[in-house]
C-alpha cells in the first residue's frame, strides 16, 4: 500500500520489453531474410565511415580520442542516474501519524492534535501477541489520497478462521478508535505463509 508509482513500473517494463523484442527480432531475422541482412551490413559499413570521420573531426585537443566518446560516457551516466531515480522512487508513502485534527485555542490560534503511528503499533501488537491463533502481526501507516490509513497485517496459524480473526481485530481497532477519539481508516490483511505453516498446531486432538 506504499506510494510506488505502479503505472511508471509498468511503463518502464513495457519499454524495456519493447526494446528487447525489437532488437531480438531484428537479430533473429538476419539468417532468414537476405534483404534485411544486406541492409544491416550496408548500414553498419556506412555508419562506420561516418563515425570514423566524426571521431577524426572532433578529437579533443591534447588527446587522441574524440568528444563523441566523452558524450557517450555522459549518456551512459545519464541512463544510470535515471535508473537510480527509478529505483529510489519505489516505496515510500509511509505515515508517521494515524490521526491529526486541528483544535482552536481560546486566543483564536489553532494547534494540531496528532496521534503517532507508534502508539497504534504498541497498542495493537501488545494485544495481538498474546493471541494463540496468531503467529505474527505488523502495524504500519500509509498516506493514501492525503489521508492516513492504518495497516494491520496478521499471520494466523493454520486453520484459524479468517472471519473470526477479522472480527476480533475489528474489536481491537474499535477500542483504539475509542482511545484516539476517531477511527482511522484501516486496512487489515490476513496472510498465509511459511510462518503459518511452520508454527506448531494448537488443536487438541
Amino acid at each position: 500500500m506504499n506510494d510506488t508509482n505502479r503505472a511508471l513500473n509498468r511503463v518502464f517494463i513495457f519499454v524495456v520489453g519493447l526494446i528487447l523484442l525489437g532488437v531480438g527480432a531484428a537479430v533473429a531475422a538476419l539468417p532468414f531474410w537476405d534483404w534485411w541482412a544486406s541492409r544491416w551490413q550496408e548500414f553498419g559499413g556506412s555508419a562506420n565511415t561516418v563515425l570514423t570521420d566524426a571521431f577524426a573531426a572532433s578529437t579533443m585537443p591534447g588527446t587522441d580520442f574524440s568528444w563523441w566518446l566523452v558524450a557517450a560516457v555522459a549518456v551512459l551516466l545519464l541512463v544510470v542516474i535515471i535508473m537510480i531515480m527509478i529505483i529510489a522512487s519505489v516505496g515510500g508513502g509511509g505515515s508517521r501519524e494515524i490521526y491529526r485534527r486541528p483544535i482552536s485555542k481560546q486566543d483564536g490560534s489553532s494547534d494540531n492534535v496528532l496521534v503517532d503511528t507508534s502508539f497504534a503499533t504498541e497498542a495493537l501488537t501488545h494485544s495481538l501477541d498474546k493471541r494463540p491463533d496468531l503467529v505474527g502481526s505488523t502495524v504500519g501507516a500509509f498516506t493514501v489520497k492525503r489521508q492516513p490509513v492504518l495497516h494491520l497485517g496478521v499471520t494466523p496459524r493454520q486453520g484459524a478462521s479468517p472471519r473470526l480473526i477479522a472480527e476480533q481485530a475489528g474489536i481491537l481497532l474499535d477500542n483504539l478508535a475509542r482511545v484516539v477519539g476517531d477511527a482511522p481508516a484501516t486496512c487489515l490483511t490476513i496472510h498465509s505463509g511459511l510462518r503459518a505453516k511452520l508454527g506448531h498446531d494448537q488443536r487438541v486432538r
Binding site: V16, L21, G22, L69, V79, V80
Partner: protein, 191 residues
Amino acid sequence: MSAPYARIVRRETHSPRTATTILLAVLIILACAYAGTELILHMLGQPALLVTPADAWTWVATLPTLEPLAAISAGGTLVAAIGLLLILHSIRSGRLARHEMVLGDRAVIVDNGVLASAIARRVETVARVPQGQAAVSVSHRRAIVEVTPTSGIPVDEESVRRAVEEEIASYDVRPALRHTVRIKQIGAIGS
C-alpha cells in the same frame, strides 16, 4: 469519513511489479557501468577488460556474416522472447492470490492460503478425518475440496458439502467462491 478503500483494496490485491522494475534497472545500470568502463579504458589507452569499443562495433556491424548463423538467430529469438514476456508482464493485471472480505466499513484482505487452511480445518472436523486428509485449494473464483477418508470409515459427503458451503458463506469474500467437493474412493490407512 470517506476512506479510499477502493484504492487500498486494488493496491493490496494486485502486484506492483516492483521486483521486476528493480531487477531491470539494476541490470541496465550494470550494463551501462561496463560499457562506460570500456569506453574510459579506451580513452585512457589502457587494454580492454573484455573487448574494445571498436571491436564490439565491428562485431555488431558484421553480425550477418558471422558463423554459426543458427546461434545468432537463437540468441535473437531468446532476447525477443524475454522482451515479449516483459511486455506481457507489464500488461497483465498481476492479480495476487488474495480475496477481499466484506466486513463492515473496513478493508480486509485475506490470502487464499488462509481461506484454504480454514476450510480444510472445518472439513476435517465435520468429516472426522485426521489433519492433513482434507486438501483444499482456493483460486480466484473456486474452492476445490478433496477429502481422503480413513479406510473403512465412510465420510458423509452431504454434510461435508454443507459445511464447506456454510464456511465459505461466512467469509463473504469478493469475488465470491464457488466450491467443488470430492470424496476420494481410496482411503488412507492407519491414520
